[in-house]
């Protein structure tokens, strides 16, 4: 079943790492795909833009796989509707 949140997370991850989305699955381990702490900052920034949400710092520490991110985003979306005050991001340049 297509999962819109997962697709968007994977697309964002692919943009940040400049790799094809096909190379990423829901079970991909972030460390194994070369995501370092700086990439995580950029990824969170782009996810907040993509989903118009605010991700609390405390939610970030346990992220290990793509699925962890997808579940985290879903939890935030369920708790509150998208925050329109979070503007669309300027892309990573």
């Amino acid at each position: 079943m297509a999962d819109a949140v997962a697709e968007k997370v994977i697309a964002t991850l692919a943009t940040v790492k400049r790799i094809p989305a096909e190379n990423i699955t829901i079970n991909t381990n972030l460390q194994e795909m070369g995501i370092d702490s700086l990439d995580v900052f950029t990824l969170l920034f782009e996810l907040e833009n993509a989903f118009k949400i605010s991700i609390p710092d405390d939610d970030v520490r346990s992220i290990k796989t793509v699925n962890d991110i997808v579940e985290g985003v879903k939890k935030i979306l369920a708790a509150s509707p998208p925050d329109p005050s979070v503007g669309s991001a300027s892309p990573a340049v």
Binding site: T42, F45, E48, G87, A89
Partner: protein, 408 residues
């Protein structure tokens, strides 16, 4: 403490004249200027009057940085790394783990990654986004260029950035020279980089009323000011003995530097400050003025600099000034601020290596106040024995580096 001769064994450069060393040298010899209408700078909304610049064209960061790394580096730091990699490859050196611990990276930059923070401010206050890119801080810091070179090439000795406006790179090169000469480092990557083509920075330069509306014509009577440039240039310095022992190609020797301050005015240069810096470089290099055949001048093309620099050269060299060849390569690669001394060091070192003096391009008419031989428009095949490279900065800070042709 050891006092060793220091060789230049590797060069790397990216500028408006080209994306590598060969392209840059070809343009310098041809007297071809990289100054052109600015691209990708949208200043229409703020009435930007600075229309021309020496921009790096066709640079694709994705060809140099993988896995999203490009987004972690401001353009100025990307230039640093690209130039350093080329210089390192060019030197052919292979470093042992012990050597890496004794390798320095000393870089110059006037404004570092300020383009990144300007981008963040635009997000905040123009676009109303309420947030800035999370890597704004590490991209903006002036030492980012030096740090990325250190990480990229695995050089773990002294690493720092010197920021003295337009003299940054010369101060950095001088510091690196002394580290290697005195045995504090066994290898140094040194130079400078700058990337300043943003609307905010161009407006700030516009307000100083020193930018030419057409092009940069140093020492020419009809000069109308400077033209901004961008880029990066790096050199590899090693002890001469070590370079010879490994059979390295030696481009030239770096043998002295002079540093002075005018202690006078933020933007108005003096004759005395630059003259003392040139004398200091000659003194440290144990060089007689008559041995110098070429000076790569600061030569900004402004009303203020060019006659004052001319008088300073006359004061230092006396009658020999009339036998000197002097050129300003800023007429071609523009004024790249904190990278200027590095771009010009490479022009000077290659002039000594190849026996070809790069010209002052865009030269149209002699100025009675600027009465030296400026190598107008055409490169000259002359093998000189020694050369100086001048950099003078806003704030009255002068740094001059002395180079000598290498004779095996």
């Amino acid at each position: 403490m050891a006092s060793r001769r220091v060789a230049i064994t590797g060069l790397g450069i990216i500028s408006a004249l080209g994306l590598d060393l060969a392209q840059n040298w070809t343009a310098l010899c041809a007297g071809r200027s990289g100054i052109a209408p600015l691209q990708v700078v949208d200043g229409a909304g703020v009435g930007l009057k600075v229309l021309n610049g020496a921009q790096v064209r066709d640079f694709d960061p994705l060809k140099h940085f993988e896995g999203g790394k490009d987004a972690q580096l401001d353009r100025f730091a990307q230039f640093s790394v690209v130039a350093a990699r080329e210089a390192f490859r060019d030197s052919g050196i292979e470093l042992s783990p012990e050597m890496r611990l004794r390798s320095a990276v000393i870089c110059g930059s006037a404004v570092g990654g300020q383009a990144s923070i300007e981008h963040g401010f635009e997000d905040l206050w123009v676009q109303g986004r309420g947030r800035v890119h999370p890597l704004t801080i590490p991209k903006t810091m002036a030492n980012a260029g030096a740090s990325h070179i250190s990480m990229d090439l695995g050089l773990a000795g002294p690493v720092y950035t010197v920021s003295t406006a337009c003299s940054s790179a010369n101060h950095a090169i001088g510091q690196a020279f002394r580290l290697v000469r005195d045995g504090e480092a066994e290898l140094a990557v040194t130079g400078g980089s700058e990337a300043i083509f943003t609307v905010g920075m161009l407006k700030a330069w516009e307000a100083m009323r020193v930018i030419a509306p057409d092009t940069c014509r140093p020492f020419s009577k009809d000069r109308r000011g400077m033209i901004l440039g961008e880029g990066g240039a790096m050199m590899i310095l090693e002890p001469l003995e070590a370079a010879q022992a490994r059979g390295a190609r030696i481009y030239a020797e770096i043998c002295g530097m002079g540093m002075t301050s005018d202690a006078h005015h933020l933007t108005q240069p003096t004759v005395d400050g630059p003259a003392r810096a040139m004398k200091g470089a000659l003194r440290e290099a144990a060089m007689m003025p008559e041995q110098v055949g070429y000076i790569n001048a600061h030569g900004t093309g402004t009303a203020g600099n060019d006659p004052v620099e001319t008088r300073a050269i006359r004061e230092v060299f006396g009658a020999h000034a009339d036998k000197l060849a002097v050129s300003s390569t800023k007429s071609m690669h523009g004024h790249a601020l904190g990278a200027a001394g590095a771009l010009e060091a490479i022009a000077t070192v290659l002039a000594l290596h190849h026996g070809i003096l790069p010209p002052t391009a865009n030269f149209t008419e002699p100025d009675p106040e600027c009465d030296l031989d400026y190598i107008p428009n055409r490169a000259r095949a002359v093998q000189v024995q020694a050369a100086l490279s001048n950099s003078f900065a806003f704030g009255g800070l002068n740094a001059v580096v002395a180079f000598r042709a290498f004779k095996p």
